[in-house]
Every structure is written in structure tokens, then in C-alpha cells.
């Protein structure tokens, strides 16, 4: 009966409210900083400086952002179809297998620009496959996809630990990781671009998978808003009844969407494995799958929002590393807290400030919110 969402101008919906949610998240985080005995404003300053203060820092920030763009896109694609893919962490982890198999097979035989596309296919295929089973179970047997993807995260971790410890590890080595990838599976860095712009970069892990991420962001936009498949996904996401009316097969759409989502999450593996570490070690995903959730929520599931959100979180990661140097009380784990707060305010509580803002707008500028000026007739 009550209309929860009266009309608000578009910029408020997509710009102001997410911004407010973000600010509140930071304010709460600031309290945690105070609890720890440090100055929040100074902490914020160090954070920012650490993220953007030099060419080196920016490169690191973008390197982390690359991971989050992939996982953010993965979650976003699923959201458009009304599905919650929490399995990005596991899908990315196990896709490492796809990457490693390609890398280890071809790194002495092919140049990087041939290995790379094969590795992309490998990562995407394995990630998609890992999402396929939960998708199928949801579509055909009604098993709740959130629970199954959480379970699959853990199963993936177990499988990967087993493989790394018992199977993929070269015999002569102690550490549970594969042998190092040779040149044929090493992605070129982007340092050159920075130097051309006059910034010095001593060394950074930023590599061309960042460009791949940007390309994928564009392709996702194309998919969701410019293809027939994307149209069907969005219809299903908005109303399964309308989708049924329109002749869109529910099971088919769910499975396809989750496979695309899993493929995107899987591609995340390329960045650390082939772009930076040049081998596969334990837990190279390091929570990126979950950050993807925060990124997708903040970016409102649109690539144009996801990229800045991913950079924001990259900033938190990189700046957070600097912060932990200067303020030993605040380690990288502060980022985890902020992540949680962003998820809370941009996700579960996203409409908490709406009524206040609506009232504000109705008072200041009634016409923009569709409040009839005196004398108007009802619809």
C-alpha cells in the first residue's frame, strides 16, 4: 500500500545515496580507529597518500583494483538476473587451476601473447564450471544458490589445498605452490605507461590483465544492455512472472547467467598468477571474491560504477598497507572492517537514508520528486 520509493532524481539515486552510504561507512570505521587509539583524520590522510601519492602507489592501487573489477563484474552479472553469487571466491580460486595448467603446459613453447588467450579461456571455463553445479541445482531442484555457493567455496579451498600440497608442488620444493612460470606465461607490466606520463615506477605488479579487466567491463555493459541475452537476464531479474509471460526459460537463463558470472570471477586469477607472482600459491584470491560483493553493491551493478568502486577498494588495500606501516595498530584488517561496513550500508541498509532524503527534497524542491503542487489531480 505505501509507496516505498517515491521518485527521486536519477543523480540522487545513483550518486548521492551511494555517496552517503559510503561516508557513513567511513565514519563508523573512524570510530574503530578511535577505539584503537589513533587519529582517524590522520589515518585517512595516510590512506589517501599511500594509494595515490606516487606513480608506484597508483600502480599498486590499480593492480588490486583489477582483481575487484573482475569479481565485482561477476557478482553484478548475477545480480541483474536476481541471483546472489557468493561463490566468486571459490570460482576464482579453482580457476587458478585452469590458468596454471595452461601456463605450465605452454610457458616454454608459446610466447605470452598466445598463452594469454588460452589462459583466459582456461580460467573462464573452470570458473564457469564451478558455478554450473550450484546454478543447475537452483534451476532444476530449487536448492538455494546462496548456500550452495558458500559450500562450494569451501570445497574449492579444500580441493586447491590438496592439489597444491600433494599434486602440483614440485618434489624438490617445500612451499605448497607450483613451480615458477617461465616467460611464456608471464604477462607484461604496464610500467611503461606511467613512465611515459612522467611518473616514476620502481616496480609494480600492474600488468595487462588490468586492461583485460577494463575490456571485460565494457563487454559486460554490452552484454547486459545491448544483447538479447542481457535483456532476458534483466527481465528475469526484475520479474520472474514477466519473464515467464515473455517466454524466457527460467532454468536456462539461471544456468547461463551463473556460468558467465563464474567465468568472470575465474578471470580474476590471471592477475596475481600470470601477472605478478608467476606461480600459483595458496589462497592467492585472498578475499577478492567477497570484496567483489561490496564493489558490485557500491557500483549498483553497473560497470561504470564498478570500476570506480573497485579502484576505491584498491585504494583501501594499497593505502591500508601504507597505513599499517605508519600506524602499527591498524593493519590490513581495517580494510576488512570497512569492506563489511560498506556492504552493510550499501547493501542491507541501502534504503535507510532514503526517507530522510526524500523528505528533504520534498521540502526543498517538490517538483523534482513528483509531489504535486497545490491543485493537482490524483492519477
Amino acid at each position: 500500500m505505501s509507496v516505498p520509493y517515491a521518485k527521486l532524481p536519477r543523480w540522487v539515486d545513483y550518486g548521492l545515496i551511494p555517496l552517503i552510504n559510503l561516508i557513513v561507512a567511513f565514519v563508523v570505521a573512524g570510530f574503530v580507529v578511535l577505539l584503537v587509539g589513533e587519529n582517524p583524520l590522520r589515518a585517512a590522510g595516510i590512506l589517501f597518500e599511500g594509494a595515490f601519492g606516487s606513480g608506484q602507489n597508483i600502480a599498486y592501487t590499480l593492480f588490486y583494483a583489477t582483481n575487484f573489477i573482475f569479481t565485482g563484474l561477476a557478482v553484478a552479472v548475477a545480480f541483474h538476473c536476481g541471483l546472489f553469487n557468493i561463490g566468486g571466491e571459490g570460482q576464482a580460486y579453482i580457476a587458478g587451476l585452469g590458468v596454471s595448467v595452461v601456463a605450465l603446459s605452454f610457458d616454454s613453447v608459446l610466447p605470452w601473447w598466445l598463452t594469454f588467450p588460452l589462459a583466459i579461456l582456461g580460467a573462464a571455463a573452470v570458473g564457469a564450471l564451478w558455478a554450473l553445479i550450484p546454478a543447475y541445482l537452483q534451476a532444476k531442484r530449487g536448492s538455494h544458490i546462496v548456500i550452495t555457493t558458500i559450500m562450494f567455496n569451501f570445497i574449492a579451498a579444500s580441493i586447491m589445498v590438496y592439489l597444491l600440497v600433494d599434486v602440483l608442488k614440485p618434489l624438490a620444493q617445500q612451499a605448497p605452490q607450483t613451480r615458477d612460470f617461465l616467460e611464456g606465461a608471464q604477462l607484461p607490466k604496464l610500467n611503461g605507461i606511467f613512465e611515459a606520463l612522467g611518473m616514476s615506477v620502481r616496480s609494480s605488479p600492474l600488468n595487462i590483465s588490468f586492461l583485460l579487466a577494463l575490456v571485460m567491463a565494457y563487454l559486460v555493459w554490452l552484454l547486459i544492455w545491448r544483447t538479447k541475452l542481457g535483456y532476458e537476464m534483466r527481465t528475469m531479474g526484475h520479474s520472474s512472472k514477466a519473464a515467464r509471460y515473455a517466454g524466457i526459460g527460467e532454468a536456462r537463463i539461471i544456468v547461463i547467467t551463473m556460468m558467465i558470472s563464474g567465468a568472470l570471477a575465474g578471470m580474476m586469477a590471471l592477475n596475481p598468477l600470470m601477472g605478478d607472482q608467476h606461480r600459483m600459491a595458496l589462497d592467492f584470491v585472498a578475499g577478492a571474491g567477497f570484496v567483489g560483493i561490496a564493489v558490485a553493491l557500491m557500483g549498483r551493478s553497473h560497470p561504470a560504477g564498478i570500476i570506480p568502486a573497485a579502484i576505491l577498494f584498491g585504494m583501501l588495500y594499497q593505502g591500508g598497507a601504507e597505513l599499517s606501516f605508519e600506524m602499527p595498530n591498524i593493519s590490513r584488517d581495517m580494510i576488512v572492517i570497512i569492506q563489511g561496513l560498506v556492504i552493510l550500508f550499501a547493501g542491507a541498509l541501502e534504503h535507510m537514508f532514503r526517507p530522510a532524503i526524500q523528505t528533504l527534497f520534498a521540502t526543498l524542491s517538490p517538483s523534482t520528486v513528483g509531489v504535486p503542487v497545490a491543485g493537482g489531480k490524483g492519477a
Binding site: 500500500m1 574503530v32 577505539l35 584503537v36 587509539g37 546472489f84 557468493i86 553445479i133 541445482l137 531442484r141 530449487g142 536448492s143 538455494h144 546462496v146 548456500i147 550452495t148 558458500i150 559450500m151 562450494f152 569451501f154 570445497i155 579444500s158 580441493i159 589445498v161 590438496y162 600440497v165 600433494d166 567477497f290 560483493i293 553493491l297 602499527p328 595498530n329 591498524i330 593493519s331 584488517d333 581495517m334 580494510i335 576488512v336 572492517i337 570497512i338 569492506q339 563489511g340 561496513l341 556492504i343 552493510l344 547493501g347 542491507a348 541498509l349 541501502e350 534504503h351 535507510m352
Partner: protein, 323 residues
């Protein structure tokens, strides 16, 4: 005889491993039966563990630590409740957020306050729940069969273990023999029926969520003030999710939940005991396989291959008065 000893030791380990699972599982039961999905059990347990150990270290009393653990868990549960019930937000998202906030906060606060790399100071004496020796345990110890069962399995656990197992019949009783339990189960199936009977859906759900907080607080306190002698970062290590899996496996019923937790606990205890060794009959099994087994079993159940696991009908759906 040797086999029997090994079995007893294994069962003893099983009990110890299962307790946090059981408490977290029962915690989830209250929430989910009332229609509020809670995947934040992990986070609440972790926060409780930290709060319990920290307060116990500072005050020197295990019981005060327990009280603090419960308080903190309940607060986090109320945040989840606020987001899910009052704001009708996405319950999954809220649970995920709580897990992150707990994970990060426990480490940061731990390091800042105690400067021991994220752990809390080691607990001893009255600051810790020690094992309790039941009367006659020492005397019976050498009696064949019954002796070890009594003196090792049943006696010799901390009080929280007994509380945990006592929670099973207690929960059963609350759910099926009290007015509160009847209404709680009703609101998870058809909140409209509860609403038209003149009962507040929101208040009922808040109370359920508080119960969840209490039990996860005890679970956390068990980990850091009883089983271990202090908090260690990430000490819950996924137990909250195994508890969730057990809850689904048990089809949201208290007594099967106990057996599910014991089963999953047994799998973990066995995998530790037999790590690197050949199992009787089966041969060598990778420890990761054992670790993954609870999750695999849950998926198999969810896929409907071992009977249908039907969650509370109104689960995960915010209640909006439809008029």
C-alpha cells in the same frame, strides 16, 4: 582393546570439536525457524570469542568473560536484526557484512589492546573454564569399557560442554512446549497468520535473533575461554558455516542438529587423528577430503538426493503487511 582406546579418544575429541558447532547450529535454528536467514553465525561466534577472552583476561574471571561474549554477540545479532527486520534489507548481505566486520575488528582491536600479534593474553586459573572431573571418575577409570566411557568421555569436560549438550533438549522444549516456541515456528512459516492473530511479527523475530546472539556468544566463549586458553585470530575457521551446513542437514530440528554436529565433528576429529595415516579399510585419505566432506554432504542433501530439505517457508523474506 587398542581399537577401543583409539575409539574413546576419537569420541572425546569429537565431543570437544562438536561443541562450538552445536552451539552455533542451535543459534542458527532460532533465527531461521523464525524466518530470518543468518549466515553471520561465523562472525558472531568470532566476535564472542574475542570479547570473551579479552574480558576474561582483563577481569581474571571466566564467567565475566562469558557474559561479555554473550553481550557482544547479542549486539551484533541486533544489528543483523535491525537491517533484516526493521529495514527489510537483504538478509544474506547483512550476514556477510557482519562476518567481515567481526573478522576485521577482532584482529585490529586485539592487536591494539594486547599487542600480541592479534591474540589475547593466555588465560589460566579462574580466568578459564577448566575441565570438571565428575564424582567417581577416577575410581571407575580402570573398569573395562564403562570406565573409560565415564571418566574420559563424560567426565573431564568444561562446564560449557555440559551446557551445550543441555541446550539440545532445552531448545526442543522451548520450540515445542512453550508459547514462545509455537509463535516462533509460526512466524517462520506464515507471518501473516501471526500478524492477524494480534502478535507482533517484528518483536517475535527480534527475540529469536537475540537467542541466536546468546548461543553464538557461548560458542565463541567456549572456543577462547574453555577449549583454548585465549583468542587467536580467525579461530573460528569456518565453523560458523559448518554449523549452518549442519542445520540444513538436520532439517532445522534440534535433536538431529546435535547428531549432525557430532557427525561433522567426528569427521574433523578423525581427519586430524588419521592425518597421513592409512585408515582401517579405506587406506590413505587426503585430509582436505575430510575437511570438505561436511560441505559436500550438505550440497548432496540440498540437491534433494537424500530427501528434501525444506526451509521455513517465510525464510529470508522480509515481512511486509500486505493490505
Amino acid at each position: 582393546m587398542e581399537f577401543f582406546n583409539v575409539l574413546i579418544q576419537l569420541l572425546d575429541a569429537t565431543i570437544r570439536v562438536s561443541v562450538p558447532l552445536l552451539l552455533a547450529c542451535l543459534a542458527g535454528l532460532y533465527s531461521e525457524r523464525a524466518g530470518v536467514f543468518d549466515i553471520g553465525l561465523e562472525g558472531k561466534m568470532l566476535a564472542g570469542a574475542f570479547a570473551g577472552a579479552a574480558f576474561a583476561a582483563v577481569t581474571g574471571s571466566a564467567w565475566l568473560g562469558l557474559g561479555c561474549a554473550i553481550t557482544v554477540s547479542v549486539l551484533m545479532a541486533l544489528v543483523h536484526g535491525f537491517a533484516s527486520i526493521t529495514h527489510r534489507g537483504n538478509q544474506i548481505v547483512s550476514g556477510v557484512a557482519i562476518n567481515f566486520i567481526a573478522a576485521g575488528s577482532t584482529i585490529i582491536l586485539g592487536q591494539a589492546w594486547f599487542r600480541q600479534g592479534g591474540r589475547t593474553p593466555a588465560l589460566s586459573g579462574p580466568a578459564r573454564f577448566e575441565a570438571i572431573t565428575l564424582p567417581g571418575a577416577d575410581a571407575i577409570r580402570d573398569v573395562p569399557i564403562l570406565g573409560p566411557i565415564y571418566s574420559v568421555l563424560i567426565s573431564g569436560d568444561s562446564i560449557l560442554v555440559y551446557i551445550a549438550f543441555a541446550m539440545v533438549p532445552f531448545t526442543w522444549w522451548v520450540l515445542f512446549r512453550t508459547r514462545f516456541g509455537l509463535r516462533l515456528r509460526a512466524v517462520g512459516e506464515n507471518p501473516a497468520a501471526v500478524d492477524t492473530a494480534g502478535i507482533s511479527v517484528a518483536w517475535l523475530r527480534y527475540r529469536a535473533v537475540i537467542c541466536t546472539g546468546v548461543l553464538t556468544g557461548i560458542a565463541g566463549a567456549y572456543l577462547s575461554v574453555a577449549q583454548n586458553a585465549g583468542f587467536v585470530k580467525d579461530m573460528t575457521a569456518g565453523k560458523g558455516f559448518i554449523a549452518l551446513a549442519a542445520l540444513i542437514f538436520a532439517k532445522w530440528r534440534p535433536v538431529p542438529a546435535m547428531f549432525a554436529c557430532l557427525l561433522f565433528g567426528f569427521l574433523e576429529a578423525a581427519s586430524i587423528r588419521f592425518q597421513g595415516q592409512a585408515w582401517p579399510l579405506i587406506g590413505k585419505v587426503p585430509v582436505q577430503f575430510m575437511q570438505a566432506l561436511p560441505y559436500v554432504l550438505t550440497v548432496v542433501l540440498l540437491a534433494g538426493f537424500v530427501g528434501k530439505a525444506i526451509p521455513p517457508r517465510a525464510g529470508g523474506v522480509p515481512y511486509v503487511k500486505e493490505r
